[in-house]
């Protein structure tokens, strides 16, 4: 079963991240690389992506003739997706274990940031046999 593990933060969370020390940044980057490699080595990795900064986010609606109307105004409290992993595992418990590992990523001052990772099932295209 596939699960998506999502990391998100408010604009001020992102700004805080940008102010970490060089060593803290490097430690976090190294952790993420190792984490992705673990997922690949254990055969559960499906995909991972990092997303652009909140300042680059746009909200798009269709205008009168279907042309896009964009705006970049969001409430201060909005949580922006920073990135995700999609894994393919045997059980939800396995997904939670892996998410907990992601939550151990080191943060400012080298302490685990202990970020909350949102875990959701990824729906499949298979129809239920109903047996």
């Amino acid at each position: 079963m596939k699960y998506i593990l999502m990391m998100a933060g408010t604009k001020s969370d992102f700004e805080g991240y940008a102010r970490w020390s060089k060593e803290d940044l490097q430690a976090n980057v190294a952790f993420m690389r190792t984490f992705s490699r673990e997922l690949k080595d254990t055969g559960v990795f499906v995909s991972t992506e990092g997303l652009g900064w909140p300042s680059e986010a746009k909200l798009v609606r269709a205008g009168k003739n279907g042309e896009p109307i964009t705006d970049g105004v969001f409430p201060e409290s909005k949580e922006f997706l920073a990135g995700y992993w999609i894994i393919d595992v045997e059980s939800p418990e396995q997904a939670y274990k892996i998410a907990a590992r992601a939550s151990q990523a080191p943060g400012a001052g080298r302490k685990p940031a202990n970020m909350a990772i949102e875990v959701r099932p990824v729906l499949s295209g298979h129809a239920d046999l109903g047996l």
Binding site: S21, L25, S55, E56
Partner: protein
């Protein structure tokens, strides 16, 4: 398809043969799009059969035959998709037509394919995908993997590209010498984009992805063989070699980006540099000074410096001034500002950057802030430098660039 077993030796032979076979079949049936599919299937058949049964005596003939059989089967409307099944024995009834086909072949067929695949109606990513398949002989899976999109997506992209070419009614022949002059820049641009995609991908993904930079160099070499008098092609090849030479020094042990002035030059490939300089010298001797020759010349000046501090910046500045006249662009202006800063001091560079503030093409481009930050740091204005490094980090769409820029800001903030 991804699980296919094949021998790396055949891979090289098959890739060299692929465009020749496609040229022959497309010419025969006057249908580039269907011929391309048929040749793909012949390649897959070869990948499956040759390791078991050995390379045929006439491998190109074998591929042509299999592809032609596919074409005629399709035309007779037989059952589609017999996966990886081919006829191996050379049937005598086909021998005569094979001889005809081979006699008809033209050394220029690969060049025709190159021009077709870089058709002006195609988007760059479509042209790249089609070129890699039809001229490069890569499989759809390899191309998809190289560009990190699902195989089905890449297959669709290629299929639509071929439909666009079909709809344009382009005949299977070399463009006229006049058309060629107009179309060659598109061809060179596609080859350059392929190189760039391969060269700038991170080492980690490099190991798992098909080596696009090497492939671009190979295709450009072949193009140069087909157009030996063309200085722009030679210039492009030189640029690729002079850039590729630095590949081993670009990334650190944690895959972080290492800028030119901090790279370990012992890791640069001196053989590639020599070849690049030789090609460049010959191209410049022809008298024309185009975009790629100039960029290659700049790369050569960097590559010739034993240490970063030995770099002949006045030479580079002069070359960028020439480049601004020959092929002006905001990126050239940015690079010119960096060179000016190295020769005349960072304030001069910052002054030149101000001209770019009003340029809408650069308005929210991360490089303007990145370069500004770098120059501000040199003037000692750390606070402003940090601000611009962070803006650049927020704007870049590259993860390694973002990590690099954030680290620079953090470094200055920590001092």
């Amino acid at each position: 398809m991804a699980d296919r077993q094949y021998d790396a030796r055949f891979e090289h032979l098959l890739r060299e043969l692929a465009p020749q076979v496609l040229g022959a079949v497309a010419r025969r049936f006057r249908d580039f799009s269907s011929a391309e599919d048929a040749v793909q299937e012949a390649m897959i058949a070869a990948f499956t059969q040759w390791p078991q049964e050995g390379v045929p005596e006439n491998p190109r003939g074998w591929l042509i035959q299999v592809a032609c059989r596919r074409m005629t089967d399709q035309m007779r409307g037989e059952i589609a998709r017999r996966q990886r099944e081919t006829a191996v024995a050379a049937e005598t009834e086909n021998l005569a037509s094979l001889l005809e086909i081979e006699a008809d072949m033209d050394a220029d067929d690969t060049l025709v394919l190159l021009f077709m695949c870089c058709h002006p109606a195609l988007t760059p990513s479509s042209a790249i995908a089609l070129t890699l398949r039809a001229v490069g002989g890569l499989t759809t899976a390899e191309i998809a993997n190289a560009f990190l999109v699902p195989e089905a997506t890449m297959a669709q992209r290629i299929s639509r590209a071929k439909q666009t070419i079909k709809a344009s009614g382009a005949p299977f022949r070399l463009p006229s010498p006049h058309e060629r002059a107009g179309r060659l820049p598109a061809v060179l641009h596609v080859l350059y984009l392929i190189f760039s995609e391969g060269y700038t991908s991170s080492i980690g993904s490099h190991l798992q992805r098909f080596d696009l930079a090497r492939e671009a160099i190979r295709l450009t070499r072949n193009t140069k063989t087909l157009l030996p008098e063309n200085a722009e092609v030679a210039g492009l090849l030189a640029l690729m070699l002079l850039t590729d030479a630095r590949r081993a020094a670009r990334n650190g042990p944690d895959e972080e980006l290492i800028p030119l002035d901090k790279q370990d030059r012992y890791l640069w490939d001196r053989v590639e540099i020599s070849e690049g300089i030789e090609l460049l010298t010959a191209a410049l001797a022809k008298g024309s000074v185009g975009l790629y020759q100039l960029q290659a010349a700049i790369a050569a000046v960097h590559d010739e410096a034993e240490r970063a501090e030995d770099t002949d910046w006045p030479q580079i500045l002069a070359l960028y001034e020439l480049l601004q006249r020959v092929s002006p662009s905001p990126m050239v202006t940015l690079n010119h500002a960096i060179a000016a800063a190295m020769v005349h001091g960072p304030d001069k560079g910052l002054q030149l950057l101000r001209a770019l503030d009003a340029d809408p093409r650069l308005a929210s481009h991360y490089r303007l802030d990145a370069v500004r930050a770098h120059l501000l740091e040199k003037t000692g204005d750390y606070e402003a430098a940090i601000k611009h490094y962070r803006v650049a980090a927020a704007r870049t769409t590259s993860i390694p660039e973002r990590n690099y820029l954030m680290t620079q800001a953090a470094r200055l903030a920590g001092d």
